[in-house]
Amino acid sequence: MIKSNFFLVSSFLIFSMYSFGEIVYQFEDIAQEKRFYSLISEIRCPKCTSGSIASSDAPVSRDLKNKVYDLIIDGSSDDEIKKYVSDRFGNFSDYRPALEGANYILWFGPFIFLSLILIIFFFKRRAE
């Protein structure tokens, strides 16, 4: 009984350098904290089939969260942090595709579509 408890409990053990009873990610102000939680919800977990690092408990997600934290404290901007992550894990890791190249079709597609339909219907009515 004791043995199985030990194995059960120890399966959750991780290495860390934390001390007792604290908030894990401490920031200077609320704005920084919001930036952190917002960023980690936009960075894809490299190991999971889908989902952000915010929603993942995988070790690499944990490392990424800690790294994003460190970078925010160091003063990096959101763009710099995203670039830091994509340099290492690929463009795939950003849930917000950059506005470049073919991605223009992605971001503007819906509104081009809407405009086209409105134009078609407008002309149809003119014809009558």
Binding site: I14, F92, P97, G109, R125
Partner: protein, 632 residues
């Protein structure tokens, strides 16, 4: 033995459906056989019953732990409660496909038999649904056979199903969703039959209206259950991720919502018939597309069933042929439809027309988001990820436009527009109140996010529009469509709750050792790690943690857990939620650190209950609409 009989019954159903089709095809070119219709109907009913009995036997096998059937052996277990033995049937591909077919058959048999024998479309609709059921049955038996045996001895015990699936909400979510998805086979088949026959004097809308409304309800409940389950079970405190599988359920729902509104227009006013027919076909086509995406493994998603290109290809070709058949007939017949051409600007029809356009744009946006990574990867090998940032950005303006049009369209008239003055009257108060309240929210929260505030404003516009109408009805006895009002209030509430949730919710990650407590913030003045216990349950071990919080002056006790399941060695996190009207306090355990303390993720999620409530309002509104019609 029962397994063989069950299998045989499904095969017999295949034979009979094929016979119906061959029999009628043969007579299509020659003289109509005098008994053709009654014979077809009888064969059809019998084939449907064969499917039902086959499935009933399969359920019997699952309840009685027949582990010589490979599928039951790999997804069930003798220790499971009966409820979960049954729900294990639809926990993976083969069984859930079987359930899909059963529902397809059930909807069809009810609808076909509700039509009078003299109804000119009865036979063709029957043929259409037979074709569809046959295609899926063949898919099941040829590529995804749930009846395969484990030879030579079968398994002694079943592999436990994924512990994450042993949950009441998740057990009901697929049946609800499928009932919704496949319910639209009726509008699909009936409209195709109508177009095929070409008798455009027939009033077709009322035949399928209530069937479609009921299917919509199931679809709404199914999606909401999935979202609710994900919220409390998956541990990350979110309820919608715009995951591809969520998206392919949302697209038919949007099409169905547009369809209902368009159906309303084309039955009252003979306008928008073309739109309505197109939408009626689109819904089921999108359901087929959804089934394909989920079951072919073509898209990375946590939700995908095991991938198999062969299955994917069959589904794709079958869905493609059926869809092209329907759309082809539709495109061919459009000129003959004689749909009323002129839509008066500012009339109710024009607003409903705009509604269709906005809905179709939403569907297009989701479709683009789902397929874009595939397209880019096929072109140049780049991997792109699309998620909430994209969809939130695209949908927010769409929601605003929708809200403005809803506000302007209320009390509009058929085939006539109202003077400009009336617009000013009815939009003045909602706009002013919405601006005021939005400002009020900003003042209290002191946070700003352009997307969320547009969402708040849009939700408020809709809410105030309808609240004012309710007041008008209450004090001045002005007519109000109750079902519509309740459903739209639900919609406005949904936009409002989702946006408020987005700006107000926050998260705190903490670590404490047992017995410790810390101050978190002004709202949560004390967070104490009271106790930790190791327990044993029937098929899993549990680490149970007790935490007490002093939140807003109230004492709350939370009980998050970590579980390790015996059969698969899987570890799951059970969240502990205290849900109040304003916010949910949501706690999960992380990992233990070397020094004995544990990490916790504490999430404060605002207005979650309002989100579930808004879904139930929409369903309630729809129920009122259905039953009100029956009364008159």
């Amino acid at each position: 033995m029962i397994g063989e009989i069950s299998h045989f019954l499904s095969l017999s159903a295949v034979v009979i459906f094929s016979l119906i089709l061959i029999f009628n095809f043969f007579f299509f070119f020659g003289k109509i056989h005098p008994n053709q219709l009654s014979l077809s109907i009888r064969l059809f009913n019998q084939a449907c019953w064969l499917v039902f009995i086959s499935f009933a036997m399969y359920v019997y096998l699952a309840i009685n732990d027949d582990f010589s059937i490979a599928y039951i052996a790999s997804h069930s277990n003798s220790q499971l409660p009966i409820f979960y033995k049954i729900s294990s049937i639809w926990s993976a591909h083969e069984g859930s496909m079987f359930l899909w077919i059963v529902f397809l058959t059930a909807w069809s048999i009810f609808f076909i038999n509700s039509l009078d024998d003299s109804h000119s479309l009865k036979k063709t609709t029957l043929l259409m649904v037979s074709l569809i059921i046959l295609g899926f049955l063949l898919f099941l038996l040829l590529t995804s056979n749930p009846f395969e045996r484990l030879l030579p001895f079968g398994a002694i015990e079943g592999a436990d199903i994924n512990p994450v699936l042993q949950d009441p909400a998740l057990a009901i979510h697929p049946p609800m969703l499928y009932l919704g998805y496949v319910g639209f086979v009726i509008s699909f088949s009936y409209i195709t039959a109508y177009l095929f026959h070409g008798n455009f004097e027939l009033e077709w809308e009322k035949d399928i209206k209530n069937w479609s409304l009921v299917a919509w309800i199931f679809l709404t409940i199914g999606i909401t259950l999935g979202s609710w389950w994900a919220y409390y079970e998956l541990g990350w405190g979110g309820y919608w991720f715009w995951d591809p599988v969520e998206n392919v359920a949302l697209m038919p729902w949007l099409a169905a919502t547009a369809f209902m509104h368009s159906l309303y227009a084309s039955s009252k006013s003979s306008v928008l018939k073309t739109w309505t027919m197109f939408l009626g076909i689109l819904i089921f086509a999108l359901s087929l597309f959804g089934a394909f995406i989920v079951r072919s493994g073509i898209i990375d998603s946590v939700h995908s069933f095991a991938n198999d290109p062969q299955r994917g290809l069959y589904l794709l070709i079958f869905s493609g042929l059926i869809t092209l058949l329907a759309l082809g007939v539709f495109a061919y017949r459009i000129p003959s439809l004689n749909a009323s051409k002129f839509v008066v600007s500012g009339s109710k029809e024009s607003f409903l027309s705009m509604n269709n356009i906005l809905m179709v744009t939403s569907i297009f946006s989701i479709f683009l988001g789902v397929t874009y990574p595939l397209i880019i990867e096929a072109i140049n090998g780049e991997k792109v990820s699309i998620g909430p940032p994209y969809y939130n950005t695209i949908f927010t303006p769409l929601i605003l436009i929708t809200a403005i049009f809803i506000m302007a369209s209320v009390d509009s008239l058929w085939q006539r527009s109202k003077p400009l003055k009336s617009y000013v009257y009815k939009t003045f108060f909602p706009v002013i109140l919405s601006i005021l309240f939005t400002y009020f929210v900003w003042h209290i929260t002191e946070t700003f996010s352009i997307l969320s505030y547009i969402g708040i404003f849009s939700g408020l516009l809709i809410l105030f529009t309808y609240l004012l109408r309710v007041l008008n009805n209450f004090f001045y006895k002005k007519f109000i469509n109750k079902g519509s009002a309740i459903a739209h209030i639900g919609l406005g509430l949904l936009f409002l709750a989702v946006s408020l949730n987005s700006i107000l919710s926050y998260e705190k990650n903490l670590y404490l050792a047992p017995g410790e407590s810390i101050f978190v913030n002004e709202s949560i003045k004390e967070f104490s790690f009271d106790d930790i216990k190791v327990l044993k349950a029937s098929n899993h071990d549990v680490i149970s943690v007790e935490v007490s919080l002093l939140q807003d002056g109230k004492n709350i006790i939370l009980n998050p857990q970590k579980r390790k399941y015996a059969t698969r060695g899987q570890i799951t996190t059970e969240s502990s939620i205290y849900a109040s009207i304003l916010k949910d306090t949501y706690l999960t355990i992380g990992d233990q650190l070397e020094n004995g303390s544990w990490t916790f993720a504490l999430k404060i999620n605002y207005f979650i209950k309002w989100i579930w409530f808004s879904a139930s309002l929409m369903v309630m509104g729809m129920l009122i609409t259905i039953f009100k019609k029956k009364a008159t």
